[in-house]
């Protein structure tokens, strides 16, 4: 009996030791409990500032992307980024907008990264939940690597800082802030994958509301703003919401639409223009 108990305890301890530890922020991007090493390699990474010490291979194919109603988009030449990395010390390369899509595809394009698609490694086999860009096809996905409309009145206006390579929304009234991040080559603002998704933050974020007040919100799928999760709007910023780890809201609501409207101003109350 005693021996059985000892064996049982030993097994439990071994199992506990082998359990991968979650990271509330990285979530599923904490691949095999590797932490930041899931994507970044402090040594032997891709060279160049624009590659952000990326630990894996990156695709070089030309992807077919979504074509907007005004005829923009249609092509993402990932090889352009690879060529750009050779000029590693260039500030422009460091801020290469395309990187914020191509690096995502290095894992999420399961045609390119077949290993990641089938087995994220170690002892546990997983399937990549979001297979995006397979067979160089992004035509059915929200436009990426496309210039953000700066003259279209149905989008909130932005300002490009060509010195610091930043893009800012000029509006300060929209109640849910503008959590989306736009990228720039110093001239134009670009929409990339991580315009909507923050790969470092899966379940919760804080967005600036009216007047700069910080609003703590839950989110999901690394979306930069409040989305499809428990509404946890606070009067001021709160500690990283632990409740976001177990979101209870699974239906689409206005909250989710608010995130889209933080760029697409037309459906929002802030839109005052005329469209037909």
């Amino acid at each position: 009996m005693r021996i059985s108990i000892v064996i049982l305890l030993a097994v439990m301890l071994m199992a506990a030791a082998g359990v991968a530890q979650i990271d509330p922020m990285l979530g599923s991007h904490n691949v095999n409990s590797a932490g930041c090493l899931s994507c970044h390699a402090p040594h032997a990474a891709l060279p160049g500032k624009g590659a952000y010490l990326w630990g894996g291979s990156i695709p070089t194919s030309t992807y077919t992307t979504y074509i907007t109603s005004d005829g923009n988009g249609g092509t993402l030449n990932a090889g352009t980024m690879t060529a750009g990395l050779t000029n590693a010390m260039s500030t422009a390369v460091a801020n290469l907008p395309m990187a914020h899509t191509v690096l995502c595809l290095s894992c999420h394009d399961t045609s390119f990264n077949t290993t990641m698609a089938t087995a994220i490694p170690g002892s546990t086999t997983k399937t990549l939940n979001f297979n995006i860009g397979a067979n160089e096809n992004l035509s059915g996905d929200h436009p990426v690597d496309i210039i953000y409309p700066t003259t279209n009145p149905t989008y909130f206006t932005v300002t490009v800082n060509g010195t610091n390579y930043t893009v800012s929304f000029t509006d300060t009234l929209y109640g849910y802030g503008h959590p989306a991040k736009l990228y720039t080559d110093g001239v134009n603002p670009y929409i990339e994958c991580s315009s909507c998704h923050n790969p470092h933050d899966q379940t919760a974020t804080v967005v600036p509301g009216v007047g700069g007040t910080l609003i703590s919100v839950c989110t999901t799928h690394f979306i930069r703003g409040q989305y499809q999760a428990t509404n946890e709007v606070a009067t001021n910023h709160a500690p990283y919401p632990s409740t976001c780890l177990t979101p209870t809201k699974t239906t689409y609501t206005n909250d989710n639409a608010n995130f889209c409207m933080s760029c697409h101003s037309y459906p929002s109350n802030q839109f005052t223009g005329l469209v037909h």
Binding site: I22, P42, P47, P121
Partner: protein, 364 residues
């Protein structure tokens, strides 16, 4: 036999016994402590020095500039140990890469010749990284000394560790602990094409080879933002420079950061920054403590004197990382903990921490 003779005999016997026992004691092998590390199967245990300890402190430091060391079979020669160079001697690179190598004898009693190469770093923000004109109180020392061994293109080929570390003929890939095969538990095929393997844009320069490049490695000899006018100020935890002529130090101002759940007892910023009195620098030993392979020792909450020196169980680390850190592929008593590992990175990269989100807002 009278009483005196008996006494003399007793003393004689006692003396003989004493001599015999001393003789036996002298011949008895001293107890040995097996110190193992990254370059052996065991990555945990009581290891304090990992692969760096293969010849004790003498692998890197030389107490004197002359003399020999007896290490039968070790493959190290006087030159390899630096004893042939002499303190302050200018000599040629050990592999003939160039002249003008400053011997490091005057810098932490360093036993290796320092590379004359000027390295290309990831961002170059801290200026050229080179041994040229280097002195003990310069931040770059804490990268240059590492490269004197870890850049296999310049380190001594007589190392009996499979060749120069990371060099063309030496340890590479997973042997050196830096990818790509099975790196961090991620399947090797995923990593194929990165800087350490074949194919991909990084294949011609892995940062450790003769091209003198460190482009594929985390920035070293790079500025850590201190002043409000510095690039990326606000994206990293705040620090202050304690300016003392020749020995300036850098301290994190925050005392609340907790790197991982359950790690409150080890709250703090394990990384070490260096300063020339004006700027703070990231060097190799900002993240790595070359004297501790598997156990951490750092100031908790930045409080002077309050050091956590764990030599038993938790928190452990690996690969000389200064804070708690355990890889999925680890052995020994490593328990993979992604939050803990990410927490070490976040102890500098404030922008990637929940603290930043709570205090500042969405990461832009």
């Amino acid at each position: 036999m009278n009483r005196k003779n008996i006494s003399n005999s007793f003393i004689l016997v006692l003396a003989l016994l004493l001599i015999a026992s001393v003789s036996m004691w002298a011949q008895t092998p001293l107890p040995t402590t097996t110190i193992t590390g990254r370059f052996s199967a065991d990555q945990g245990g009581s290891d304090a020095g990992g692969g760096h300890i293969s010849h004790g402190c003498y692998l890197c430091h030389v107490p004197h500039t002359t003399g020999t060391i007896q290490q039968p079979g070790a493959g190290l020669t006087q030159a390899a140990l630096g004893t042939a160079y002499g303190s302050g001697t200018i000599t040629t690179n050990v592999q003939g890469a160039g002249a003008g190598v400053a011997n490091a004898g005057t810098i932490y009693l360093w036993g290796q010749a320092l590379s004359p190469i000027t390295y290309t770093t990831w961002d170059g923000s801290g200026g050229p990284l080179s041994s040229s004109g280097i002195k003990v109180n310069m931040p770059a020392v804490h990268s240059i000394m590492c490269l004197s061994c870890h850049d296999g293109a310049v380190s001594d080929s007589t190392y009996d560790m499979g060749g120069p570390l990371g060099g063309p003929n030496g340890l590479t890939g997973s042997q050196a602990g830096f990818a790509p095969t099975g790196y961090a538990g991620v399947a090797s095929s995923f990593w194929t094409g990165n800087g350490g393997s074949t194919g991909g844009v990084g294949s011609t320069n892995n940062g450790w080879a003769s091209s003198s490049g460190l482009l594929t490695n985390h920035p070293v000899h790079a500025y850590y933002p201190v002043h409000t006018s510095d690039n990326h100020y606000g994206q990293y935890w705040g620090v202050t420079i304690n300016t003392v002529a020749g020995t300036s130090t850098v301290s994190f101002t925050d005392s609340s950061f907790v790197p991982y759940t359950g790690g409150a007892a080890y709250a703090g910023h394990p990384a070490r920054l260096y300063s020339d009195g004006t700027y703070a620098y990231v060097e190799c030993t900002s993240c790595h403590e070359p004297h501790r392979f598997g156990h951490v020792a750092f100031q908790v909450n930045g409080t002077s004197g309050a050091w956590v020196v764990d030599t038993t169980t938790t928190p452990t680390t690996t690969d000389y990382i200064r804070g708690p850190y355990n890889l999925p592929t680890g052995g020994g008593n490593e328990v993979p903990n992604g939050e803990q590992n990410a927490g070490f990175c976040r102890s500098c990269h404030y922008e990637k921490s929940a603290d930043f989100i709570n205090n500042v807002g969405v990461v832009k």
